[in-house]
Symmetry: C2
Subunit: 343 residues, 2 copies
């Protein structure tokens, strides 16, 4: 077990790295805690949750909405949860996003912690305090920024993940490498997915490195006025295609990174050989690099992106692998760039 | 016009005292602003809102719920509101509570300001950053604490208020006097409601004094770990009777203050003559001091109060007029005290 602490706007968040779900009962007051999880995770781990009250929500991004939040809030009221209660989100990004949001608005905010059960959750979604839900096709448009008390990482939870969930998580790992860590990118080029699945130590180090990249960026810019925006690499077009085509988040981000690499080629001088290296790594980890999408429809959604301010959008571009920049692109120009992308 | 600034946890809030609704267009970017108001207020002031986009919600506490928030969020999306947009809550406490909450969760929080149109709103509800909604009979159980950019006070808006809304607001004014300001209490004893309705200067001073009491308390304890709790005087039992009996907030708080005075007599030595002075002032301003309520049912709701932590409730008691204290009362004892209150 490794303990790490990050401070976000004066609030300390404890990371229990390479720890175990079974130790949760030593970290929170069990009789005052409520675990929020989804049906899939509950079926797999119900045996390890003895003594905890639980709220089980249906699995899947389509349930990351107001109706599910209302259900959770009603359950918290029914359980007589109070300001000393502790909410724990146990699950993938959907569960931790929604649990963090519900805890943030219940009684104007009670304490919460996360136990992410997916790669995507462990390297990205559970970190940084963004909690929220979707409204129709608009992703995360309702939410707050509020940090959990702790995040508990148990790598053994990943063993039961279906293969596509492993692939899903590696999109964000590749993203972190692209924007911030050329060395990590080189490591990813040398390895393949099975290497990380089979070598616990290698996986633990990979997760720690990604936790560190994301937390470091967020700690310096919690409210996303500057560098935190870099983490949106691949997400602008990614989000726009994600809900339209009901893709897994990582798959959509992969498509988004491919598009962003192409736009970077035109706008920020990202070289063709490096563009090709990114595409190669994405494929190496089983991610899609091609999607025939309705460009007009995607652009309509993209116009509503949170990163848009009036007629411009803050777009994350690469200069080189490991070095990202933010550039404002007028919507009209972006529309042309998307139209121009090879069909 | 008077300008006042209060700082809450590092965030500056500007108060435009004794100002005018028509100056709103000089205080916010009109083309990026969305006014949230209710049907009653809209009918009265639509003529002064030229150029602003508006979202009009149905009037009344029964609409301070998730359905109304969802409607507002859908409208903000439809209007393509973005992170530079500005939400203005124009109305009574219900409108400002709900507008502040919607703005706090839209895109993880955009800027907002308030123009309170009732006495209750001007002396209490719009101040302090508590934004939220009800869930069924549980008042304000969903919400966040987040401060507005500004509050604009226009006393002429009060001229069209029905008499019961004037009475409604004076409950919180009397509350402020009870907990913090014996001199203000004495002034209230000397005057009557008509005096404040007829004398603009007297009213402006009264509002300023109440704004100052509430803001001062909140500025020292935004997240209610200490003295901010004093503002809950009369609200514990008040909230419990409010929704059960569909009373106006001030009327319910008046009943709650009467109950709290009686409990203060037993628990904190609040003298009988001073108890009688409080009852007399409440009556003088048209507030009810008696309600035959279902004590068992009210106690059931009270158990879910946000001020409850497990088996105790933080109760605000008076020692003397102008001097309130907080005391934890076990639920079992409180149940007895309520049962014992004269029927």
């Amino acid at each position: 077990m490794n303990l790490l602490e990050y401070t976000f706007s004066g609030k300390k968040v404890t990371y229990y790295l390479d720890d175990s779900l079974s130790s949760l009962q030593n970290k929170v007051p069990v009789n005052r805690s409520v675990i929020i999880t989804d049906e899939t995770v509950y079926q797999a781990y119900a045996g390890q949750l003895a003594g905890f009250q639980t709220i089980v929500i249906p699995a899947g991004e389509q349930h990351k909405n107001q109706a599910t939040v209302n259900h959770i809030l009603d359950e918290l009221i029914r359980m007589e949860a109070d300001r000393q209660s502790f909410v724990i989100g146990l699950g993938g990004g959907v569960v931790t996003d929604i649990a963090g949001f519900a805890a943030s608005v219940y009684m104007r905010g009670i304490r919460f912690g996360f136990v992410p059960t997916t790669i995507l959750g462990q390297v990205d979604a559970s970190i940084g305090g963004k909690n929220g839900i979707d409204a129709g096709i608009y992703k995360n448009i309702i939410g707050v920024i509020r940090q959990p008390e702790f995040i508990l990482f148990d790598h053994t939870l990943l063993q039961t993940l279906p293969q596509e969930q492993w692939v899903n998580g590696f999109a964000e790992i590749i993203k972190h490498a692209c924007i911030r860590d050329a060395q990590l990118f080189a490591l990813l080029e040398q390895k393949k997915l099975e290497d990380f699945q089979q070598d616990h130590q290698l996986l633990a180090e990979l997760i720690r490195r990604n936790v560190d990249i994301k937390s470091g960026v967020v700690a310096k810019d919690e409210f996303e006025t500057g560098d935190r925006k870099l983490l949106n690499f691949g997400h602008t077009i990614g989000h726009a295609v994600e809900n339209t085509y009901e893709l897994l988040h990582g798959f959509a981000v992969s498509i988004g990174m491919v598009a962003a690499c192409s736009i970077s080629g035109t706008v920020s001088g990202f070289s063709v050989p490096e563009q090709e290296r990114v595409l190669k790594v994405l494929q190496q980890y089983g991610l899609p690099i091609y999607l025939e999408f309705d460009k007009k429809r995607v652009f309509e959604i993209l116009k509503m992106d949170k990163k848009r301010v009036r007629e411009e959008i803050s777009f994350v571009l690469l200069k080189t692998i490991g070095h990202a920049v933010i550039q404002k692109i007028p919507l009209t120009e972006l529309e042309e760039l998307i139209q121009k992308m090879s069909d």
